[in-house]
């Protein structure tokens, strides 16, 4: 589904990604871990198409199509979803109106008519229940006055509504208490299917107790330096990132 080949990217002349290679197939969950400043969020933003980042070389193929040639909104309509680390507030725009606009844009792209109001509301009800989103929040302005946990749940609610092929969760666990973490994980797990794939970007192993990855990648200095199974996450938790740095240092010396 997603194939990233030797991707180099920078922001304002500062190199952040130094040759990322990653393959994600349908039905898989990948975790990307790494210390602060390793480039995790940059990778998420580059996949979503944030303009500030400059792709210097390499390719990002999404279903064999070069993603970097698509505008951010086209990527979204093709099925790329980013759950934001810091969901943005849009005062005065109701959550539900926002989602309806988004959903109908996607449907238009697929050649479908806008969803009928009744059908839409039924879908909202179903998907909101998935992340136990408070009824009130549906009609409130997008993320305005939401608690940290509510914002993250709202991201997963939007993901459920838009049913993406590839979901990138950028530190969705940050700022969540354990109950909210369970709810969010339950949502993500329920949405998992043989047709979609998920990339979970996180600092901590904790989230991976609930969203069990097929692969764990360690990102360091803009490069994937280690790939393993879910046990790798446990090892990281135990030993910290210094262990990787040391190992890497040895490699360089050798």
């Amino acid at each position: 589904m997603l194939r990233i080949n030797d991707l180099h990217a920078s922001i304002e002349g500062k190199k952040i990604l130094n040759g990322i290679t990653l393959e994600v197939n349908a039905g898989e969950i990948h975790a990307i871990m790494g210390p602060n400043g390793s480039g995790k969020s940059t990778l998420a933003s580059v996949i979503a198409g944030k303009e500030e980042y400059e792709i210097e070389s390499g390719e990002i193929l999404f279903n064999n199509e070069e993603l970097t040639e698509l505008k951010p909104e086209e990527r979204a309509r093709e099925g790329v979803f980013l759950a934001f680390q810091y969901p943005v507030e849009i005062p005065g725009v109701s959550n539900i109106n926002f989602l309806r606009t988004a959903l109908n844009e996607k449907r238009a792209h697929q050649g479908l008519d806008p969803m009928a109001a009744k059908e839409f509301l039924a879908l909202v009800k179903e998907k909101a229940a998935l992340v136990q989103l408070d009824d009130k929040l549906k009609n409130r302005s997008v993320n305005e006055g939401f608690s940290g946990g509510e914002k993250k749940r709202n991201e997963i609610f939007q993901m459920a509504m838009l049913n993406p092929k590839l979901a990138v969760l950028d530190e969705t666990d940050s700022g969540l208490d354990i109950d909210a973490l369970r709810i969010v994980a339950h949502g993500v797990n329920t949405l998992k299917s043989a047709e979609n794939a998920t990339i979970v970007v996180t600092h901590y192993q904790r989230l991976l107790d609930y969203i069990v990855p097929d692969f764990v990648h360690v990102l360091y200095n803009g490069k994937i330096v280690k790939t393993g199974s879910k046990e790798l996450a446990l090892e990281l938790e135990e030993k910290g990132y210094d262990w990787i740095k040391q190992e890497l240092g040895e490699e360089i010396q050798a």
Partner: protein
């Protein structure tokens, strides 16, 4: 079926100033220039009584002694008052029995404006008094209103049929000496609307007037007078569009509202006059005096959405004379390209326990300048007066300007006056968030701006709110930078 944002987008496909067409109707237009003779000619053409001619001539003398004000935060080439024709009436001598008799060209114009009268008739409760250039050509629902004793007609008709009401109230809120443009209007006004709601009557429909500047080179000098008698209520809609013109056109209207004891007037405006092109050429000069008077327990509420005109200079105000009276001002003013707007309100608290609310949302884009100027004055007898003002500015580019000039004068220690102001720039992170959900930039800006202006848009009657949303989006297309 509700009107969705997609329907809206569908309608927005044409990006140019969408009402930039000119109706080809023979016009009865007098030659340019302004002298006492011009005024006598207007008065004669309108078959006016002597007292009104005397009023006009007096105003003309007052005006001649005045100077054009310069304190507003706008720059423009002053109009040459001798280069304007002061009267243009579509040649339609016959009094119309029904709408079917209206000139087909005019009907077409109305349809393009989206206010075909058939449709308006079917739409429950909207009576339209359509003003093409300066003379009203069609008035609907008059009979239905007549049953309730409501008078809703052109100003000219009111002069003929209800001279006592006109004599009593005209100039009672905006005297001819008030300011330069009010004096000019008092001298040369050609037509406008008049509305009277009798005691205790609640007007069951929105009263709506569409103004349209059509004749190239004609200034428009409209007068609107709304009188709500004791305990009555009405909601008045004023919507404006003008065809595309290269020369500047002057519009200097006067609107007077009178809410007697326990009465309520809601006055809503959507203004979309030609703002000039993206190089700042052409566009309408909009210098308007709007003011309402509240007697005891009365309420006046101004709501305006301003997207048009090259230069706007306008302060819908409330004189809260009666005890417990209420004044409200809700405004969205959008400026783009080279537009300049200096707009706001005045709330004059005279009676006890008077309350006022001001919500102003400015949106500036391109190289435009957008100013809020407001006065809250608490008189010495206005015990327990309350005011709340909120002035927000949204910047869409880094070359535009937003300015706030709030004036507060308080002569009573029991008064409570609050003022809040914010300035923000439309966020790239907000736009990216929308993009990532599949919403393109133009739609994203529409959503964000409409969300920002929602508090004001919510105050508009439904049909108007939809039109207003549309205008905001049209006015701001491609303006983030």
């Amino acid at each position: 079926m509700a009107y969705t944002e997609d329907d809206l987008k569908e309608e927005l496909k044409s990006k140019e100033y969408e009402f930039g067409f000119t109706t080809d109707i023979e016009s009865d237009k007098i030659s340019i220039g302004l002298t006492e003779d011009t005024i006598r000619l207007i008065s004669e053409k309108k078959n006016e009584p002597d007292w009104l001619l005397a009023y006009r001539l007096k105003a003309f003398n007052v005006w001649q002694a005045m100077h054009e004000p310069e304190w507003a935060h706008v720059k423009y080439n002053k109009p040459d008052f001798q280069a304007i024709s002061y009267y243009a009436a579509p040649k339609q001598k016959k009094v119309l029995e029904s709408l079917d008799e209206v000139d087909p060209e005019l009907r077409k114009t109305m349809e393009k404006l989206g206010i075909s009268l058939e449709e308006q008739k079917r739409l429950s409760g909207v009576a339209v008094d359509f003003v093409m250039d300066s003379v009203s050509v069609a008035t609907s629902f008059k009979e239905k209103l007549g049953e309730l004793g409501i008078i809703f007609c052109s100003f000219g008709e009111a002069v003929q049929n209800h001279p006592d009401l006109i004599k009593k109230y005209m100039g009672s809120v905006v005297p001819m000496t008030d300011n330069f443009y009010a004096a000019l209007n008092s001298a040369v006004f050609t037509d406008g609307s008049f509305c009277y709601i009798p005691k205790g009557v609640r007007c069951p429909m929105e009263l709506s007037t569409y103004f349209r500047i059509n004749e190239s080179g004609t200034g428009q000098f409209e007068r609107t007078l709304v009188v709500a008698d004791k305990g009555s209520y009405c909601s008045y809609l004023e919507g404006c569009t003008a065809p595309q013109r290269d020369e500047n056109q002057l519009h200097a209207a006067v609107v007077e509202l009178i809410a007697l004891d326990d009465a309520e007037i809601k006055y809503s405006t959507v203004q979309n006059w030609y703002p000039g092109d993206d190089k700042g050429i052409g566009g309408v000069f909009n210098f308007v005096t709007k003011r309402g008077l509240c007697e005891k327990n009365a309420k006046i509420s101004w709501t305006q959405v301003e997207t048009g005109s090259a230069v706007t200079w306008k302060y819908p105000s409330c004189i809260l004379k009666g005890d417990n009276s209420i004044g409200e001002f809700y405004s969205v003013a959008v400026t783009n390209n080279f537009q300049q707007a200096d707009t706001g309100t005045k709330m004059l608290h005279i009676g006890k326990n008077t309350r006022s609310t001001i919500i102003s949302k400015g949106i500036s884009a391109g190289k435009s300048q957008n100013s809020y100027r407001g006065l809250v004055k608490i008189g010495k007898n206005a015990q327990n007066a309350r005011n709340f003002s909120q002035c927000d500015s949204l910047l869409m580019s880094d070359r535009c300007g937003a300015h706030t000039f709030p004036y507060i004068e308080c002569d009573n220690p029991t008064a409570k006056v609050e003022h809040e102001a914010t300035t923000s720039k439309i966020g790239e992170d907000q736009i990216f968030y929308c993009l990532q959900r599949g919403i393109d930039e133009e739609k994203a800006i529409g959503l964000i701006v409409n969300g920002y202006a929602k508090e004001v848009l919510n105050k508009l009657p439904m049909e108007f709110a939809v039109e207003a949303q549309k205008l905001l989006e049209i006015s701001l297309e491609g303006s983030v930078g």
